[in-house]
Symmetry: none
Subunit: 126 residues, 4 copies
C-alpha cells in the first residue's frame, strides 16, 4: 500500500502523507474507509510509531482524515472524495517536473524517457 524510501531525501512522514492523499484522490481509499493503525504501519515499515503519527496528524489537520478516539483513523467524509481526472493529473505535476528537469540535464531524449516509463510500468505490474 505504501512505499517508503528512507534514502530519497524526502522525510518519511511526508512520503506517507503524499501517498495517502493520492490513494484518497484515486478512490482507492474511499470516505469512511479505515487506515492501517499506527503500530501496524510502524512495524511493517520498520519505522518509529511517532513518524506515522505525525503523518496522520498532518493529514487530519488538512482535512483528509478523521480521528475518533480509540478507533482507527478514517478517510474524512468531506475531504476524501475521489478526485476528477484533471485534479489527479495536477497532483502528478511535481514528479513530472522533476523527471523532465532531470532528463534534460542528462540530455536524454523524450522517447528514451518514455521507454523507461514503459519498462517500469510493466515491470512493477507483474
Amino acid at each position: 500500500m505504501f512505499v517508503l524510501k528512507p534514502q530519497s531525501g524526502i522525510p518519511l512522514y511526508r512520503q506517507l502523507a503524499d501517498q495517502t492523499t493520492r490513494l484518497i484522490a484515486s478512490g482507492r481509499l474511499p470516505p469512511g474507509s479505515t487506515l492501517p493503525s499506527v503500530r501496524e504501519l510502524a512495524l511493517e515499515h520498520a519505522v518509529n510509531p511517532m513518524t506515522i503519527s505525525k503523518a496522520y496528524a498532518l493529514l487530519e489537520a488538512d482535512g483528509w482524515l478523521e480521528r475518533h478516539r480509540g478507533k482507527p483513523m478514517t478517510v474524512a467524509a468531506r475531504g476524501g472524495r475521489h478526485a476528477s481526472g484533471r485534479r489527479r493529473l495536477r497532483q502528478l505535476e511535481q514528479p513530472v517536473e522533476q523527471l523532465v528537469l532531470a532528463a534534460r540535464q542528462l540530455d536524454v531524449e523524450k522517447r528514451d524517457v518514455i521507454g523507461l516509463i514503459d519498462e517500469m510500468w510493466e515491470g512493477d505490474d507483474e
Copy 2:
C-alpha cells in the same frame, strides 16, 4: 543552469549536487570546465553560501569536481566524463520510479502520464 526548489522537501545541497552530476554526465559540463563561484550561485538563488559550499565539497569528495586554490572549481578530468546513453538512463531511474509510483497511486493511465510529459517538455522548451 540550476533549478532549486526549496519547497520540494529535497535538501538544497542535494538538488545542487544531483543536478551537477547530470550536467557532467550529459557532457554539458566537460572535464576542465569551470563552475559558478559559491558567491555567484548563492546570490542568484538567494541561498546561504555554505549550502553551495557543502554541495561542492560533496562533489569533490566523490571525484566529480576538483578544487584549485584561488581558482573556481572545475570538472575533474577523470570523474567527469560524458557518460554513455545507458548510464545516463540509469541516472533517470529514481525520478521515473517516483513518477510511476505516484501515477499508479493516483490511478492515472500511462498514456495520460505521457501526455503530461509531452506538455511539460514542450512548455519548458520555449
Copy 3:
C-alpha cells in the same frame, strides 16, 4: 512569558500554543517579533525540545507564526495582528465558562468568585 503547568491535564504543547496566541492577540508579540528558540524554552521550562517544536509547528500551520530556515520563529505578518477588545474577550470565554461551571457546582456565590479574582489579580501583580 509562558507559564506551564504539567499537572493541569492540558498538554504542555497546547498550553504553549494557547498562551502564544493570547500574547499575539494582546499585541505583546507584534507581527515580525521573534519567539524564544526551541532550545531556550525547553531549557527554561525543563521540557523536551520536541514539545516546544510541536507547539510552534501547530502555530505555524494555523498561520500565527512564520518559519524561516535557520532563523528563529517570528510572528506572522498577516495572522499576527493585535485583536480588537471584543475578539480578545471571546478568547476568554472558555476559561470563564470553566470557572462559572466550577463555582456553581461548588455552590459558591458570584461575589465570592469575584473576590477571589480580585485577590489573585493583585497577588500576581506584585
Copy 4:
C-alpha cells in the same frame, strides 16, 4: 448534572471526577446519596462506560464514593461531607488562576473579565 467537554483538552474521566467532588463539597450530593449508574452516564454523554468506571474507581480510591455490590455507587459517609465555604473557595483556585493568567496575557482589564462572568452567570441561569 455533569457537563463534559471532550474538546477542552482535559481528560473526560478527570472532568467527571472533579465535578463530582464539587457536587459533594457543595452538599448537592450528601453522604449516602446515589450516583447515576455507569451505563446511564455513558449513554447520556455518549462516552465509553469504562471512562465513567475509571472516574468512579478513582473517586472510590480517594474516599469520596463507596461501592456496594449490586447497588449504585453512593457518596461516602466520611469523605463526602459538605465542605466549609473556605474549603470550597480553595477548590476554585485552579480555574481562577487559569482565567487570570489568560486575561493578563490577553491584556483584558479586570472589570471586563468580571463583566463576562456576569453575563455567563446570568445566561446559564435561565
